[in-house]
C-alpha cells in the first residue's frame, strides 16, 4: 500500500466510529422514517407487515386541522423565538462586551441554558400560575388584571415563547461575544477618525462583520425551534391543542398516544423538509458577508 493509501485508511479508521454512529442514528433513522411514513403502522405489529398506504398519511395530515394548526404554530414559534433571541442576545452581548465583571453577567444569562428544560418548564408554570404565580401578583400592583397565561388559548403559545426566548439567550450571547471579540479594533478606530456615529458604526462595521455568526445562530436557532417539544409538553395543560400544538407535539401524541406511527413519521418528514428548506434559504441569503468578504 502506498503512503497516501495508508494515510487514507488511517483517516477512515479514525472516522469510522462517527460514520457508524451517523449511519445508524441518522441515515437508517431517516430512511426508516420515510419508508414507514407510507405505511399504516401502529407500532405494535411488525413495520414490514404494516399495510402500505402510499401518500395516504400525507393527505390525511393536510386535511387534519390539528396538524395544520401545529404547522402554523411551529412556523410562528420558530420565527419569533429565533429572531427575538438573536436580537436580544446581540444587544446583551454588546452591552456586556468589555464591561467590568462581564463574566458574572454572562454566567447569569447562560444559566438557563444549563438548566434542564423540564425544570425550566415547571418553574415557569409556577410563575405563570393564575392563582399563586408571581407574574399575576406583580401585575396586580399595577392594577393589571390577572391572566390565565397557560390556559387561555390566546395567550398560551405567547407565554411559552417568552420562556423559550429567555432560556435560549445564553448560547447566542456567548457566540456573539466571541464574534465581537474577533472584529479588529482598527476598524472602529478608523470609523471614529472618520467621525462615524455609534449607530452608523454598528450598522456599517459590527453587523456586517457578524454576518457569519448571525447566519450560524439563525440556522441552529431555527433547527432547534422546529424541534421544540419539552416546554410545550410540560407547560401545555388543558389548553386546546390547536392553540399550542407544534408539529413535534403533534408527532408525539399521534405516535405514542394514538398509535399512528405512519402518520407521525409523515409529519416528521414534512418537518425535515421545511427545516432543510429554511436552512438552505438562510445559507443562500447570508452566503456573502463577514470578514472574508472584506478581504476578498
Amino acid at each position: 500500500m502506498t503512503r497516501k493509501g495508508r494515510e487514507n485508511l488511517t483517516a477512515y479508521l479514525f472516522l469510522s466510529p462517527i460514520l457508524l454512529f451517523f449511519a445508524v442514528f441518522f441515515c437508517f433513522a431517516v430512511g426508516f422514517s420515510v419508508l414507514v411514513s407510507f405505511k399504516n403502522w401502529n407500532m405494535l405489529d411488525s413495520p414490514i407487515s404494516a399495510p402500505f398506504v402510499g401518500l395516504g398519511n400525507y393527505f390525511s395530515l393536510f386535511t387534519d386541522p390539528l396538524f395544520r394548526a401545529g404547522l402554523l404554530n411551529t412556523i410562528v414559534f420558530a420565527l419569533v423565538v429565533t429572531f427575538t433571541s438573536i436580537t436580544l442576545a446581540l444587544l446583551v452581548a454588546m452591552a456586556l462586551f468589555k464591561l467590568k465583571g462581564s463574566a458574572v453577567w454572562r454566567f447569569i444569562f447562560f444559566a438557563p441554558m444549563i438548566t434542564p428544560a423540564v425544570a425550566v418548564g415547571k418553574i415557569w408554570s409556577y410563575l405563570y400560575n393564575p392563582s399563586y404565580g408571581v407574574i399575576n401578583h406583580v401585575l396586580g400592583w399595577f392594577n393589571i388584571p390577572a391572566r390565565a397565561w397557560l390556559s387561555d388559548p390566546n395567550l398560551a403559545l405567547f407565554s411559552i415563547m417568552i420562556v423559550a426566548i429567555w432560556s435560549g439567550l445564553g448560547v447566542p450571547m456567548l457566540i456573539f461575544t466571541a464574534g465581537l471579540d474577533s472584529i479588529p479594533t482598527s476598524y472602529y478606530d478608523a470609523a471614529r477618525i472618520d467621525g462615524s456615529s455609534k449607530i452608523r458604526t454598528f450598522f456599517s462595521i459590527t453587523l456586517p462583520l457578524l454576518k457569519p455568526t448571525t447566519l450560524f445562530l439563525i440556522v441552529t436557532g431555527m433547527i432547534n425551534a422546529w424541534q421544540t417539544f419539552d416546554l410545550i409538553y410540560i407547560m401545555g395543560g388543558a389548553t386546546p391543542a390547536k392553540s399550542i400544538q407544534l408539529v413535534s407535539t403533534f408527532m408525539y401524541s399521534t405516535a405514542f398516544s394514538y398509535m399512528q406511527m405512519g402518520k407521525a413519521l409523515a409529519a416528521s418528514v414534512i418537518l425535515f423538509i421545511i427545516s432543510l428548506i429554511t436552512t438552505f434559504l438562510a445559507l443562500r441569503s447570508f452566503r456573502k458577508g463577514g470578514m472574508e468578504s472584506y478581504y476578498a
Partner: protein, 430 residues
C-alpha cells in the same frame, strides 16, 4: 474434600433456586403511599400498600418474585407501547379501561382464562365488568371504579348562608353566583366553581363532568355500536351550554384550579374519589369541617360518569400462567376474615377508589364514610365507553369544550366540530 463437596452442592442448589425463580413485573401508575402503605406518626403500619401484598404472595410462593414498575399516569400508555415493541413489557398491567380497546385489538393483552372471566362476571359490579370487557371478551380483573361527585367547601357555603349542596345545575349556577367574590377590578378572588385546567388529570376532569351532564340531559356520546358520535345532538349542546353558563355568569374562569380549593378560595369542584385522599392530607384536622361531598347537580335527571381500571396480563409475558395465578390470589380470592379481596382492601383503604368487587363494596360501604357518596352514585353512573382511539377522542372533546369555555366557539359549533372530528377518527380507525 467433604467440605468442598458440600460447598459445590450448596452453590448448585443456590443456582437452581436462582434460575428456577419466576420474576413477574407489575406495572402500575400508583406511587408513594399507595405502594409503601400508610403509617401513623410513630411509624407503625396502619394500612398495607401494594408492596406488602406482593411480599405476602412471595412468602407463600417462594419461587416467585414480583417487582413493581411505577410509571406516571401521563407516560403509562407510551411505556406499554415501547415496552411491548422492545420485548421489555411488564407481565401485569394495572390498566385504564379506555386504552383497553387499542391494546386488545393489537393483541398486547392476553385473554383472561375462562374460570377467571366467569368469576369476574359473577362477583363484580356491572359497571366495572363493562370496563374490563373489550368487544365482548373479559380482558382482565376490574381494579377500580371511579364515579364523579361534587366536592364543596362547607365553610364557604355557611358564610354565604347556603345550607345544602345544590341538587340541580340551575341551583349550582345560583349558588355559584352567591359564592363568587371579585375584587375592585372584577377579578375573581373566590370561585363559586372551578374546573381543574392545569392538572395532569385535566382531560378527564373536564370531559367526565361533561359526560355526566350529557347523560343527565338524556344524551349519549356515541351510538350503540360506537361507530358514530352523537355529540352534535341537542342534548350534547345543552350539556355544554350548562358548563359555559358558569363562565358567562362569572362564577368561574379558566384561571381557577384545584390548588385554589385547598387554599379555600373555591367553593365547588367536580372530582373522582381519589382526590379525597389529597384533601384529607391538605386539610388535616379541618377536613371534616370543610369538605362536603354530594352528587353532581343534574340538568334533567340524576346522572354521573364513571371510569374504570382493570388488571391485565401482557400477551408477550413468558409467565402468563403465573401472572394470572397471582392476580387470582390478589383480586379474586377472599381472605378468611373479613371476607374481602386483597385488591379491594388496598383500593378502598389506601388508593381511595371504589372497590369493584360486590363483597368488598358491601364491606367498605359501611366502613368508609367518604366513599359512601361516591358508591351511592354507582346507581346513576354510566361507564366511559370502551371506544376505539378513546384517548384521541377524549382529547378532541376536551379541546372543543375548552374552546367553548374560552368563548372561541359557541357550544353548538364546538359540539358540531367535536362530532365531525370524532366521526373522522372513527372512520379512519375502522
Amino acid at each position: 474434600m467433604k467440605e468442598k463437596a458440600i460447598l459445590v452442592l450448596l452453590i448448585l442448589f443456590a443456582s437452581v433456586l436462582l434460575f428456577s425463580q419466576t420474576t413477574l413485573v407489575f406495572q402500575t401508575h400508583w406511587s408513594d403511599f399507595r405502594v409503601n402503605g400508610i403509617f401513623d406518626r410513630d411509624g407503625n403500619l396502619l394500612y398495607p400498600g401494594l408492596k406488602h401484598y406482593l411480599e405476602e404472595y412471595e412468602a407463600l410462593n417462594p419461587g416467585v418474585k414480583i417487582e413493581i414498575r411505577e410509571v406516571p399516569f401521563g407516560n403509562y400508555l407510551q411505556q406499554i407501547l415501547v415496552g411491548h415493541m422492545a420485548g421489555k413489557g411488564a407481565d401485569i398491567y394495572n390498566l385504564y379501561s379506555l386504552w383497553g380497546v387499542q391494546l386488545a385489538e393489537s393483541n398486547v393483552l392476553a385473554h383472561a382464562p375462562e374460570h377467571i372471566s366467569s368469576k369476574v362476571k359473577s362477583d363484580f359490579s356491572s359497571t366495572s365488568v363493562q370496563g374490563a370487557t373489550i368487544n365482548g371478551v373479559v380482558m382482565g380483573i376490574p381494579a377500580e371504579v371511579n364515579t364523579y361527585a361534587l366536592i364543596y367547601n362547607k365553610k364557604l357555603f355557611e358564610e354565604a348562608g347556603i345550607e345544602r349542596a345544590p341538587e340541580t345545575w340551575d341551583e349550582l349556577v345560583e349558588f355559584g353566583k352567591l359564592l363568587t367574590k371579585k375584587d375592585s377590578r372584577g377579578i375573581i378572588t373566590q370561585y363559586g366553581f372551578a374546573f381543574p385546567m392545569l392538572e395532569e388529570s385535566s382531560v378527564s376532569d373536564i370531559v367526565h363532568p361533561y359526560f355526566a351532564l350529557l347523560y343527565s340531559a338524556g344524551g349519549e356520546p356515541f351510538n350503540s355500536d360506537l361507530t358514530k358520535s352523537l355529540l352534535d345532538s341537542p342534548e350534547a349542546v345543552r350539556a355544554l351550554e350548562a358548563i359555559v353558563e358558569l363562565f358567562e355568569e362569572g362564577v368561574t374562569d379558566t384561571a381557577g384550579g384545584l390548588f385554589d380549593f385547598t387554599q379555600k378560595n373555591v367553593a365547588m369542584v367536580i372530582k373522582a374519589p381519589w382526590y379525597v385522599s389529597y384533601l384529607k392530607e391538605a386539610f388535616g384536622d379541618e377536613y371534616e369541617d370543610i369538605v362536603g361531598i354530594a352528587p353532581i347537580p343534574y340538568i334533567d335527571t340524576p346522572a354521573t360518569s364513571a371510569y374504570t381500571f382493570f388488571y391485565s396480563v401482557h400477551s408477550g409475558s413468558e409467565n402468563q400462567e403465573e401472572a394470572w395465578k397471582f392476580l387470582e390470589w390478589f383480586a379474586l380470592e377472599y381472605k378468611e376474615a373479613p371476607e374481602i379481596t386483597r385488591a379491594g382492601e388496598l383500593g378502598a383503604q389506601v388508593i381511595g377508589v371504589i372497590p369493584p368487587n360486590e363483597k368488598d363494596l358491601e364491606y367498605f360501604k359501611t366502613k368508609l364514610a367518604d366513599l359512601q357518596e361516591y358508591v351511592s352514585l354507582l346507581d346513576f353512573a354510566t361507564s366511559e365507553p370502551n371506544v376505539t382511539q378513546g384517548d384521541q377522542i377524549k382529547k378532541t372533546i376536551m379541546d372543543e369544550i375548552v374552546a367553548a369555555m374560552n368563548c372561541m366557539k359557541s357550544p353548538e359549533q364546538a359540539m358540531k366540530d367535536a362530532a365531525s372530528k370524532i366521526n373522522s377518527i372513527l372512520q379512519s380507525a375502522n
